[in-house]
Amino acid sequence: MSELAQIAGFLHQEAALLDERRFEAWLDLFAEDGTYWIPASAGQPDPLDHVSLVYEDLTMLRVRIRRLVHPGAHALAIPIRTSRLVGNVMLVDGDGDRLTVRARFQLLEMQGERQRLFAGAYTHLLVRHRGSFKIRQKRVDLVGSDATHAAIQVLI
């Protein structure tokens, strides 16, 4: 299998884990110092001095995931179902064990009768790990990151 096919397979698997709500398995894809970042503006240079829709390390992601499966999360009393497509996978930088990968995604969300579509670009910083990869950072640049947003509960 080519390297690019292996990377694409990894991203597809990641997307499947989220669609299947296997959140703990999804979190296991991250390196211990991994971060998950959804900027609040296009081309946002950093997550520390600018607000982000989400900028979380593994500790806060664990809190987020526990809330997602908590029976008392009233905003999820009507469950959210998702389906995502990941494509246009490109290896933009590969330096030995560290890779930078870009891809495009579309994510359909249904909660009851309410449907939403998210789309944008993923930038994954990956490190090689036991024949596969670990995520050092997943950056999600939403089309319309700085638009007015209703509550976003899903992991994108």
Binding site: V63, R66, Q153
Partner: protein, 418 residues
């Protein structure tokens, strides 16, 4: 709507549900409250140079707030004096002239009509240039860098309007080691499918947290139990919603005139970690150790400047409440940077905004759901209870609904006056 009909909607301890659902009452609120009160429109740090502008809304009117060439700040209807097209589309920028995209009419930074194409076409037609500028709002005023505008020519001046609530803005500014604040770090815009008042009525509500935020409180506690080492800021912010009622009952809520209020305590804002000590030392270099302690101990967790502005002094956050429809509100969140403070202090401000105000925050999403359920549940006639703590003497706390009753006193004052 007659003053009698308006008065019949509000009783001392309950309000008619229609104040949240009736589009006619909403239209009247825009006309009588948002078009009369002082509305926060910008921070002076966004308007440093002549021609710097931001766009916003005042009482549903599109407005450009711009620094005029003479240095004064003007608020103009964002509307061409010709056909009324919206002139400026950007949220912010700099322009020495504002030009309408339709026929190319240009306006000076005070709104005066500067040039039209084919001016000879107006010769002898009775066209009055002075009547066709971008209309200036009757009043603009600043309080310590916070710029407010009003669509009403008459009414209390800004300082009288703010009253004791102005001290909240003072405290925000005084926290900066150089005594100055600036907008920095981007913004959130959250869409809320609820009436604007439902949001205001949650600002000092200490009772909702344990039920609305139960899932994120329990999730944060479970994760915290697995951790060792120093406290984690974001985790603490999320977990703080779980403080027991008896602690919430110690948080003082002060009510002021014009519907304003603030809430003391909640989290202690003087930290003991080395980063915070470095900041406190920087503040003390300007105002002395006792002065710095006094400013930081004035712990107002959040405050409401009724009807459309809320601030978190301790974490340097601004919230602008923009009513769009009877059941739709946009809340803009801005962060301020304290000039002269170490860089990491702004990172706390950003981290607080992310944890609490992001539309994707695990705290906020559960609030938004609760507001929407309230809006959905009010489709029929009836009364909404505001009884908690009503008719009792003594100071109010976060377990009382006095601050909401205070908002309705202001509401009546605006709405009764035709």
């Amino acid at each position: 709507m007659s003053p009698e009909a308006v008065r019949a909607l509000i009783e001392p301890d309950r309000v008619d549900r229609r104040v949240y659902t009736d589009p006619a009452i909403f239209a009247l609120e825009i006309e009588r409250i948002f078009a009369r009160a002082w509305i926060y429109v910008a921070h002076a740090s966004q308007l440093k140079q002549p021609g710097d502008f931001v766009t916003t809304k005042v009482a549903q009117q599109d407005v450009v707030v711009i620094r005029h060439l003479d240095g004064s700040i003007r608020a103009l209807r964002n509307r061409c004096g010709h056909r009324g097209a919206r002139v400026v589309a950007e949220r912010s920028g700099n322009a020495k002239r504002l030009q309408c995209p339709y026929h190319g009419w240009t306006f000076l930074t005070d709104g005066a009509l500067d040039a039209v194409p084919l001016p000879e076409g107006y010769d002898g037609t009775g066209f009055e240039r002075s009547l066709h500028g971008m209309q200036a709002l009757p009043r603009v005023a600043s309080y310590r860098g916070f710029v407010f505008a009003s669509l009403a020519a008459e009414g209390p001046d800004l300082e009288s309007f703010l009253g004791p609530a102005g001290a909240v803005l003072d405290n925000m500014v005084e926290r900066a080691p150089e005594g100055e604040l600036e907008i920095a770090g981007g913004t959130f815009r959250a869409l809320q499918r609820n009436n604007w008042k439902i949001y205001l009525e949650n600002l000092h509500d200490g009772v909702h947290a344990q039920s609305v935020h139960r899932a994120s409180i329990e999730a944060s506690r479970a994760v915290a139990a697995t951790l060792t080492g120093p406290p984690r800021f974001a985790l603490e912010i999320v977990a703080a919603n779980g403080i027991p009622f008896r602690e919430m009952g110690k948080l003082t809520v002060n009510c002021y005139g014009h519907g304003h209020s603030d809430m003391r305590g909640f989290r202690k804002t003087r930290a003991t970690d080395p980063e915070f000590q470095e900041y406190e030392a920087a503040l003390a270099r300007r105002i002395g150790a006792d002065g710095a302690a006094g400013v930081l101990d004035d712990n107002r967790h959040n405050a409401l400047i009724y009807p459309g502005f809320s601030v978190h002094p301790a974490f340097q956050q601004l919230r602008v409440i923009i009513p769009e429809r009877v059941d739709r509100t946009v809340v803009e969140v801005w962060c301020l940077r304290m000039k002269g403070a170490p860089a990491h202090m702004h990172r706390r401000t950003v981290a607080f905004a992310n944890a609490v105000h992001s539309p994707a925050s695990i705290v906020k999403v559960d609030d938004l759901e609760a507001y929407e359920r309230v809006q959905e549940g009010w489709s029929d006639d009836g009364w909404v209870s505001l009884h908690r703590g009503a008719g009792r003497a003594g100071g109010a706390t976060a377990l009382d609904e006095r601050f909401i009753r205070n908002q309705y006193q202001a509401w009546l004052g605006y709405m009764e006056a035709a």
